[in-house]
C-alpha cells in the first residue's frame, strides 16, 4: 500500500499526545498508490482536490470569505493565481449570501464550491441549505436542481469543523447533526488527507448538494501519503478501518484517531475492536455497520458534538431496530457534553480516549 503513517498531536492543557497510525483494513480503490504519492497534510490534500476540480471543469468556482489569498486555513492557496479572479473570489461577509449565490450558480449548471470559514458560522446559511438547496430538485419535479442542470455539476459547501484545542464556543463546533436531519443534502466528513482529497472530489462531482466538514484540527497535524492524481472515493460507503470481533466502534473525522488509540489499549486487555469510519453521515451506510454489529454484538459511537440529539442517536436507534436480539449490551455513546463548547474546560468536555476505553470495557463486561 505504501501509506505513511498519520501523525498528529492534540494539545490539551499541557498534554501532548502522540497519535498512532491508522491502519486501513481495506483497500479503497483509487486512493491507493497508483502513480506518485507525496506526504502532505490535510489542508494541502484539500488544496490539491480543489486544484484538480477547477482544472478538470472550467465551470467550477471556488468562493467564500478570504479564499482569494489562500484562505484562513490555506486550503485555497494558489487557486486564484492559477484560475483567475473570476473563478476564485472573495465574497462579502455573509453566509446566507454565499450559499444563496452558490445555489444560483449551481442551478445554472456550474460546480459551485462554497467555503464557510468555520462550521460555527454556517447557521445564517441554514435556511438556504435546508429550505432551498435540499429541496431544489424535489420541489421542481426535477426540472431544476443544484444538482444538475442537464449535466452533473452541483453545490458543495466546505467548512472546517471540530475541536482545535483552543477554539472555544465559536471555533470548535461540530454541527453535523443539524444537517443529517435534512433529506436532500449529503453530509461527508473525511478522517485523513488521503480520504479528504478523494471524498471532496466525489462531493464536488456529486449531482446533489453536499456539506463537507473538514476536521480543522487535522489540517496541519495529519500527514499522509496522498496520490497526486485525480481520484475519487465513494460516498455513502462506510469503511471498516480496523477489524475486530468483540465490539464495533463507529465514528468519523478527527474522532477516529482518538478511538483508534482506545482500540489499541483495549487490545492489550484482550478486547478485539472493530472500527468503522462512516465517512458519509447522510445518507449513511447502515448495511456496513449492521453487518459489523451482527458480528460483534456490541456497538459504541463516539463524536465531539453534544450527546443529546447528536448523530450517534440516529445510529443507535437504527442499530437497535435492526440488531436488537443480537445485541449483548446497550449501545454506548461517548460524546461531547451538553454544553456550549468550552475553552478552559475543553479537556473535560471532550470524548477522550480514556472515556472511550472505559465505555468499551463497560460494554464488553455488561
Amino acid at each position: 500500500m505504501g501509506l505513511r503513517n498519520i501523525i498528529g498531536k492534540r494539545l490539551g492543557l499541557g498534554l501532548v499526545r502522540r497519535r498512532k497510525p491508522f491502519s486501513t483494513a481495506t483497500c479503497d480503490g483509487d486512493g491507493n498508490g497508483n502513480g506518485n504519492a507525496k506526504s502532505i497534510n490535510l489542508y494541502s490534500a484539500i488544496n490539491q482536490a480543489l486544484h484538480i476540480a477547477l482544472e478538470t471543469d472550467n465551470r467550477a468556482f471556488v468562493f467564500g470569505e478570504d479564499v482569494s489569498f489562500g484562505g484562513v486555513f490555506r486550503c485555497t492557496t494558489g487557486l486564484s493565481d492559477r484560475f483567475g479572479k473570476a473563478r476564485v473570489f472573495n465574497t462579502p461577509l455573509c453566509e446566507q449570501g454565499i450559499v444563496g449565490f452558490g445555489i444560483g450558480l449551481a442551478a445554472m449548471g456550474n460546480r459551485a464550491i462554497a467555503e464557510i470559514q468555520f462550521a460555527d458560522y454556517i447557521y445564517p446559511a441554514f435556511d438556504q441549505i435546508v429550505n432551498e438547496a435540499a429541496k431544489f430538485r424535489y420541489r421542481s419535479g426535477n426540472q431544476f436542481n443544484c444538482g444538475v442542470s442537464n449535466k452533473f455539476p452541483g453545490l458543495t459547501i466546505r467548512a472546517p469543523y471540530g475541536a482545535v484545542g483552543h477554539g472555544g464556543h465559536y471555533h470548535s463546533q461540530s454541527p453535523e447533526a443539524f444537517f443529517c436531519h435534512v433529506p436532500g443534502i449529503k453530509v461527508v466528513i473525511p478522517r485523513s488527507p488521503r480520504q479528504a482529497k478523494g471524498l471532496l472530489l466525489s462531493c464536488i462531482r456529486d449531482p446533489n448538494p453536499v456539506v463537507f466538514f473538514e476536521p480543522k484540527w487535522l489540517y496541519r497535524l495529519a500527514v499522509e501519503e496522498v496520490p497526486e492524481h485525480d481520484y475519487m472515493l465513494p460516498l455513502s460507503e462506510a469503511e471498516v478501518i480496523r477489524q475486530g470481533s468483540d465490539i464495533t466502534l463507529v465514528g468519523w473525522g478527527a474522532q477516529l484517531s482518538v478511538m483508534e488509540q482506545a482500540c489499541n489499549e483495549a487490545e492489550k486487555d484482550g478486547i478485539s475492536c472493530e472500527l468503522i469510519d462512516l465517512k458519509t453521515l447522510l445518507p449513511w451506510d447502515k448495511e456496513t455497520v449492521e453487518a459489523s454489529v451482527r458480528k460483534t454484538g456490541r456497538v459504541l459511537i463516539s463524536h465531539e458534538a453534544p450527546v443529546t440529539g447528536g448523530f450517534g442517536a440516529e445510529i443507535s436507534a437504527s442499530i437497535v431496530e435492526r440488531c436488537f436480539l443480537r445485541l449483548e449490551a446497550p449501545v454506548a455513546r461517548v460524546c461531547g457534553l451538553d454544553t456550549p463548547f468550552p475553552l478552559v474546560f475543553e479537556p473535560f468536555y471532550m470524548p477522550t480516549k480514556n472515556k472511550i476505553l472505559d465505555a468499551i470495557k463497560a460494554t464488553v463486561n455488561y
Partner: protein, 481 residues
C-alpha cells in the same frame, strides 16, 4: 447639540448652478447618466426613445466608484463633483482609507435619514391612459402592446377561475395578482425568453407571457399527474425549466441571492441574458435581500431586482415594514443603480425593465426597480384583508387605479384596440380545464430527494406500501400506488 444638516440639500444647492432645475427633483447623489440623458431630452416635447442613449461609456457612469479606491480601472466623475460641491472655505482634502476615499470637513454633519424629496416615481401614462407630455419611454409596437393587454386580461381571467375553484373547494389554496397585472406582463414583455426568472409567488403573469398554458397552471394547482412539480407543492408553486422560470417556493426572498448566482453564471458564459428576480415590499426586509444586493454589486452580476411594493405584506403595511423612502433608495446603499416606477403603468414598467436589462447585460451590473402598486386582492385565499384595511380603499384601487383598464385606454387611443376586439378576447379565453385527472403515483413521494433513490428511502417505500395494503382506507383513492 450636534449640528445637523441635510447633505442632499447642500449638494443640490451647489449643483443647481451646474445642472438644470430638473435635477432638483431627482435624488441628488449619483444620478446615472441614462437619466441625465433623460434630463436633457425632457426639454424637447414628447420624444419617444427608439434607440437608447449611450450609457456604456465608463466615463459617463457617475456612480460611486470613487468610494472604492481599489476599482482602479474607472475614472470617477462623481467624486470630483462631490469635492467641487463642498462649500467654499472648507478644507477639501481627499484621503484614501482602505475603506474608501473620504473628504474631510470640520463641520459635523449627519447624513439625513431620508432624502429631502421623495424619490421620484417614473410614469408615462396618466390615470386615464393618456401619454404624459415630455415623457420618455421605450416604444412598443402594436403587436406587442396588444399582446401585453391580452395577457393582462388573461391573467385576470386566470385569477378569477382559480380563485373560484378554491372557494368551491376544488383546490386547496390560491394567490391572485389582482392590481399587479402590469408589473407581471409588462416586465415579462420587456425581457427575452433567455432571461432567467426567479419569482416570489405573485408573478404568474411572467409564466403566462412566456407561454405557460391555462392547463399547465391548472395541473400544478390541482396537483395532478401532469404537474411538472409532481404534486409535491401547494398550488401556485409553478416552475418551468423550458420557460426559464424557476420553481416558486413559499419562502420569502430566498430566491433573490439565487438570481445573483445565476446572473454571475450568465456573465461568465457571456450570454446575452440576465437574471430577473421578483419580490414584494415585505421581502426586502429579509436578510437574503440585503445579502443579494450586496453580492450583486460586488460580483458585478447582470441581475434585475424587481420589487413589487404593493403596500402590504399580508396584513403588515409598509409603515411597519421599513422607514426608508421605499425600496429604490436602498440601491445606492449597496452600489446598485435603481429606479422607482409606477407599477400600474404598463408602459413605464416596460420601459424601465427594458432599459434595466440593457444596462444589466451590457454593463454587467445589477439594477433595482421598485414598482409601486397596490395589492387589490387578499394576500391569499387564506386571508380576508378587510380585517385590516378598509373595503372602500380596496375598491378604489380596483376600480380607479386598475392597470389593465389604463393600458386599454392607451391602446384604444392608438387605434390598436376596440370593443369588438375586447369581446372577442374575453370569449376566447377558455375556461375549460381538466381537473379530475389522476394524481402522480406514490412512487413520486420518494424520487428526486436525491438524483438516485438511496437505500433508506427504498426501504421506507417498501414499508409504506405494506402499510397501504393493510390500511387502504387511510389513503386518498386518487393517488395510484
Amino acid at each position: 447639540m450636534a449640528f445637523y444638516s441635510k447633505i442632499p440639500r447642500n449638494i443640490i444647492n451647489n449643483l443647481k448652478s451646474k445642472v438644470g432645475l430638473w435635477s432638483l427633483m431627482k435624488q441628488s447623489h449619483g444620478t446615472c447618466s441614462y437619466s441625465s440623458c433623460l434630463n436633457t431630452i425632457h426639454l424637447h416635447r414628447f420624444l419617444p426613445l427608439t434607440t437608447l442613449p449611450q450609457f456604456t461609456n465608463p466615463d459617463s457612469i457617475s456612480h460611486k466608484k470613487g468610494h472604492f479606491p481599489h476599482f482602479q480601472r474607472f475614472q470617477s466623475t462623481t467624486t470630483e463633483k462631490q469635492i467641487d460641491s463642498v462649500p467654499n472655505g472648507e478644507q477639501s482634502q481627499v484621503l484614501d482609507f482602505p475603506g474608501g476615499k473620504v473628504v474631510f470637513s470640520p463641520e459635523m454633519r449627519f447624513l439625513s435619514e431620508s432624502p429631502s424629496v421623495y424619490s421620484q416615481c417614473y410614469r408615462v401614462l396618466d390615470d386615464n391612459g393618456q401619454l404624459i407630455s415630455h415623457s420618455n419611454f421605450v416604444t412598443v409596437s402594436e403587436e406587442v402592446a396588444v399582446k401585453m393587454y391580452s395577457n393582462m386580461v388573461t391573467l385576470q381571467t386566470l385569477d378569477t377561475i382559480f380563485y373560484e375553484a378554491q372557494r368551491q373547494g376544488r383546490i386547496s389554496f390560491y394567490v391572485t395578482s389582482i392590481g399587479e397585472e402590469a408589473i407581471n406582463i409588462a416586465s415579462a414583455a420587456a425581457l427575452t425568453s433567455d432571461d432567467i426568472v426567479f419569482p416570489q409567488y405573485r408573478e404568474p403573469g411572467v409564466l403566462l407571457w412566456r407561454g405557460f398554458t391555462l392547463q399547465e397552471f391548472a395541473n400544478q394547482c390541482f396537483g395532478n399527474k401532469a404537474d411538472y412539480g409532481k404534486g409535491r407543492q401547494m398550488p401556485i408553486h409553478y416552475g418551468s425549466n423550458k420557460l426559464n422560470y424557476f420553481t416558486v417556493a413559499s419562502t420569502i426572498a430566498t430566491q433573490i441571492p439565487h438570481a445573483v448566482g445565476a446572473a454571475y453564471s450568465l456573465k461568465m458564459d457571456k450570454k446575452d441574458a440576465c437574471a430577473v428576480t421578483y419580490f414584494g415590499d415585505g421581502g426586502t426586509s429579509e436578510g437574503d435581500f440585503h445579502a443579494a444586493m450586496n453580492f450583486a454589486a460586488v460580483t458585478e452580476s447582470p441581475v434585475i431586482f424587481i420589487c413589487r411594493n404593493n403596500g402590504w405584506a399580508i396584513s403588515t403595511p409598509t409603515s411597519d415594514q421599513f422607514r426608508s423612502d421605499g425600496i429604490a433608495v436602498r440601491g445606492q446603499a449597496y452600489g446598485v443603480r435603481s429606479i422607482r416606477v409606477d407599477g400600474n403603468d404598463a408602459l413605464a414598467m416596460y420601459s424601465a425593465v427594458h432599459s434595466a436589462r440593457h444596462m444589466a447585460v451590457n454593463e454587467h451590473r445589477p439594477i433595482l426597480i421598485e414598482a409601486v402598486t397596490y395589492r387589490v386582492g387578499h394576500h391569499s385565499t387564506s386571508d380576508d384583508s378587510t380585517k385590516y384595511r378598509p373595503a372602500n380603499e380596496i375598491e378604489w384601487w380596483r376600480m380607479a387605479r386598475d392597470p389593465v383598464t389604463r393600458f386599454r385606454k392607451w391602446i384604444e387611443i392608438n387605434g390598436w384596440w376596440g370593443s369588438e376586439a375586447e369581446s372577442q378576447l374575453r370569449s376566447s379565453i377558455r375556461s375549460q380545464i381538466a381537473e379530475r385527472a389522476e394524481k402522480p403515483p406514490v412512487n413520486d413521494l420518494f424520487t428526486d430527494v436525491y438524483d438516485n433513490i438511496p437505500s433508506n428511502l427504498r426501504e421506507q417505500e417498501k414499508l409504506l406500501k405494506e402499510t397501504i395494503n393493510r390500511h387502504p382506507k387511510d389513503y386518498p383513492a386518487d393517488v395510484p400506488i
